[in-house]
């Protein structure tokens, strides 16, 4: 089925991992107030599947008997939830006031250029997802960039390549 923007929407759950789905269903089964636990259920679903594709959202909606639009509304509202697959590492660039004043926008452009992706998208190799985020509370280190939980402070555009290569090298030595 296509959505209003002409993008294909997959609503069948046939393509979801059966094992993960049954773990999720068991989790939902154990909750008493199902409707009131939507956010918990979505957390669980995202931790299992890595992201919340449309068919998974629909599955959750039907399991807890809420309209799919409502579930989609919650998923699309909270920045913690993602509807796109995420890379192995999430690069979060702070766009809070202090970081922005210190040139976060230039660093963001460098990141987009070097990774070849737009905001909230995953790189082709599946290694990174790029995200802009709001203040992380480390304004003294502005501009701040995080890769997963590791914080990089006082980042300059010319540092980006070195930081990215660290993770690329790690991946090479681990897997290949």
């Amino acid at each position: 089925m296509k959505n209003a923007k002409g993008r294909l929407v997959e609503l069948s759950t046939d393509f979801l991992d059966k094992e993960k789905l049954s773990v999720l269903d068991d989790y939902i089964q154990g909750i008493e107030d199902k409707e009131g636990s939507l956010i918990h259920v979505l957390h669980k679903a995202q931790s299992l599947f890595g992201y919340l594709p449309e068919n998974l959202q629909l599955h959750v909606a039907r399991k807890i008997d809420l309209p799919a639009a409502k579930v989609n509304g919650v998923v699309s509202f909270y920045s913690f939830f993602t509807q796109e697959p995420r890379g192995k590492h999430t690069i979060s660039l702070c766009m809070g006031t202090a970081c922005f004043v210190k040139g976060a926008d230039k660093i963001f452009k460098t990141l987009k250029d070097q990774l070849g992706v737009a905001n909230n998208k995953m790189t082709e190799d599946g290694l990174f997802t790029l995200k802009d985020i709001r203040c992380v509370g480390a304004c003294g280190l502005a501009p701040v960039l995080m890769v997963d939980d590791k914080v990089y402070g006082h980042v300059k555009a010319e540092d980006i390549e070195t930081i990215l290569n660290k993770y690329r090298d790690e991946e090479d030595s681990n897997g290949h």
Binding site: M1, N3, A4, V9, Q57, L66, A69, K70, N72, F77
Partner: protein, 580 residues
């Protein structure tokens, strides 16, 4: 009840504890404009999100202006609604909304009916001071009923309240965040691919042009001007008590005669009354009910005239498709009779007959397009106009509806009884059915035809009607959320009803999604209802089975009510659909 005292613009005011500033101001004749706020009094429908800020006022001792629609009056509160700060604040709220609003008012379908436009005028907005990013969303025209233009949405959430809380359909929700926020279906789906019932109540309350109907006026003009086409029109019961409002007539004016004259002037080849088909529906539906009662069939039986209700149960209760009556709706029955009986009688090839319906409803557009209702590859009904669209057509043609002489419908499919007229209001279909079922089951004449216990505007009503030794329990619901409650009772085995009438819109068809906009004034709906009952009282014949033209139809063409041919032409089946 506790009373709180406050001052508004220097005037003392006393209100019950819990009243809002807006409500308090109204008691002393102080007008505060509102936009997102919606309170459909008497129907229990309230949208109170305080998102638009068009109603802000100054409260002494506070830094920020307060939204008067949501802020409660507290003891000793000093409020100013007419200070420069309050007036400027309200104007700025409108200016900010306009900074991101298309400025195509002149050609917008909501032109002169738009509440944002009216407020802009009321607030004296003469320039839009800010230029910012504009929304750019595709316009959804996928369904036969609705146009959804998110670019004109001001996020008032009225539609969301109607869709979720009132109708419990759950198709519309706020999606995304900040500037990207939009009200729409899950995953940005087309309306056509959702569980939308097309009841049109979102359209009825949308303050702007974000939700409007698919406009078919042009197609009707083309059909009327096509020499090869024989264009037949039908008008639903609820039109005659509402359309006058579009021509400055008082709400509740009964304009049946003007309606017939206006159709004649536009040049329709035959002018029929959906009321005839409503009488026909009663013949079939009452027969079905009597059949179910006498043969131990499935009870309760639910009415099936309302296409939004039909689509609702197909999506929401797909396991209960055997409960509603199999009767097609009056609109479709009329279409079916025009393309068979009328075509045969007049010798006109049904291929060249175009059936146009004028309906108070947007779901009737989608209903006419349902494939299973086509017969021999011919639609029963070809084109459907809402009351508003028909009014627009008359305006285009320069027909002054309010001063038209009274005319008549054409014979054959134009006669109707009082029982048919009341189809236009909640409680009317079942009352009409009872009038006929009573005489059929008892063999006695029914003297007092008015079953007042079935009337009113309560969301769910129930009554018992004694027919001989049988106590018939009747349920009535209007608004799909109320319908849901009755259906859940049936599913759980808690229902004691024999028959249930359901209409999707608050008030029934008089409050339909295609009717002239009520702009939150529900007295209009009440007046339309009074007019419906007045029209019923004015009729000589008030029971469907007394319709003389209908008797001829059965004798000449259909055979027995609920018989083989009637089944073929007047009954349908339902399809289980997904809930999304």
């Amino acid at each position: 009840m506790a009373i709180v005292k406050a001052k508004i613009n220097g005037i003392d005011v006393e209100v019950a504890s819990g009243a809002t500033i807006l409500e308090a101001a109204r008691t002393i004749g102080v007008h505060i404009p509102t936009l997102c706020h919606l309170n459909l009094e008497g129907f229990g429908i309230v949208n109170k999100v305080a998102s638009c800020r068009a109603c802000v006022v100054e409260v002494e001792g506070r830094m920020a202006l307060a939204p008067s629609c949501a802020e409660k009056v507290t003891e000793g509160m000093v409020i100013k609604t007419d200070s420069l700060r309050a007036i400027t604040g309200r104007r700025m709220a409108i200016e900010l909304l306009l900074s991101n609003h298309p400025q195509d008012c002149l050609i917008c379908p909501k032109n002169l009916e738009c509440e944002l436009q009216a407020l802009s005028q009321e607030m004296g907005v003469r320039e839009i001071k800010w230029t910012g990013e504009k929304m750019d969303y595709p316009i959804d025209r996928t369904s036969a009923s609705l146009v959804k233009d998110p670019n004109k949405c001001i996020m008032c959430r009225r539609c969301e309240t109607m869709c979720n809380e009132v109708q419990t359909v759950g198709v519309l929700s706020g999606i995304n965040r900040g500037f990207d926020a939009v009200v729409g279906p899950a995953f940005n789906l087309d309306m056509e691919h959702t569980a939308c019932t097309f009841c049109g109540q979102c359209v009825a309350v949308c303050p702007t042009g974000a939700l409007t109907e698919i406009n078919d006026v042009g197609k009707v003009w083309r059909a009327l001007n096509d020499e090869s086409k024989h264009v037949v029109v039908q008008v639903a019961p609820a039109i005659r008590v509402a359309i006058g409002e579009l021509f400055g007539m008082a709400p509740g004016s009964v304009t049946t005669g003007q309606l017939a004259s206006s159709l004649r002037r536009l040049g329709f080849d035959a002018i029929f009354d959906t009321d005839f088909a409503a009488d026909l529906t009663i013949m079939e539906e009452a027969s079905e009910l009597v059949h179910r009662i006498e043969h131990g069939g499935k009870l309760p039986m639910l009415t099936s005239c309302c296409p939004a209700w039909v689509k609702f149960f197909e999506h929401q209760f797909p396991d209960m498709l055997d409960i509603p009556s199999s009767c097609k709706s009056p609109q479709i029955m009329m279409g079916s009779m025009v393309k068979t009986y009328y075509a045969k009688k007049t010798g006109i090839d049904p291929e060249n007959v175009v059936v146009v319906s004028i309906m108070p409803c947007l779901a009737k557009k989608a209903e006419a397009a349902r494939p299973e209702l086509a017969k021999d590859d011919l639609n029963n009904v070809d084109l459907v106009l809402s009351t508003r669209e028909y009014g627009a057509m008359l305006h285009e043609a320069g027909i002054q509806f309010d001063v038209l002489p009274e005319g008549d419908f054409d014979q054959l499919l134009g006669e109707s009884t009082g029982a048919a007229v009341i189809f236009g209001t909640t409680g009317g279909v079942i009352e009409a059915a009872v009038r006929t079922a009573y005489e059929w089951l008892t063999g006695e004449e029914l003297e007092r035809v008015e079953f007042t216990q079935l009337r009113g505007l309560e969301g769910i009503r129930s009554a018992s009607v004694k027919i001989k030794d049988l106590e018939i329990n009747i349920g009535i619901a209007h608004g799909l959320g109320n319908a849901r409650k009755l259906l859940e009772d049936i599913r759980d085995g808690r229902s004691h009803y024999h028959a249930i009438e359901i209409m999707a819109c608050p008030g029934g068809c008089i409050g339909g999604g295609g009717q002239p906009y009520h702009h939150g004034d529900m007295d209009i709906i009440k007046k339309r209802q009074e007019a419906i009952y007045a029209e019923d009282r004015s009729k000589v014949r008030r029971k469907s089975h007394e319709n003389e033209a209908l008797k001829v139809l059965y004798e000449d063409f259909l055979g027995a009510p609920y018989g083989q041919k009637a089944h073929d032409l007047l009954h349908t089946h339902y399809t289980a659909r997904e809930k999304i």
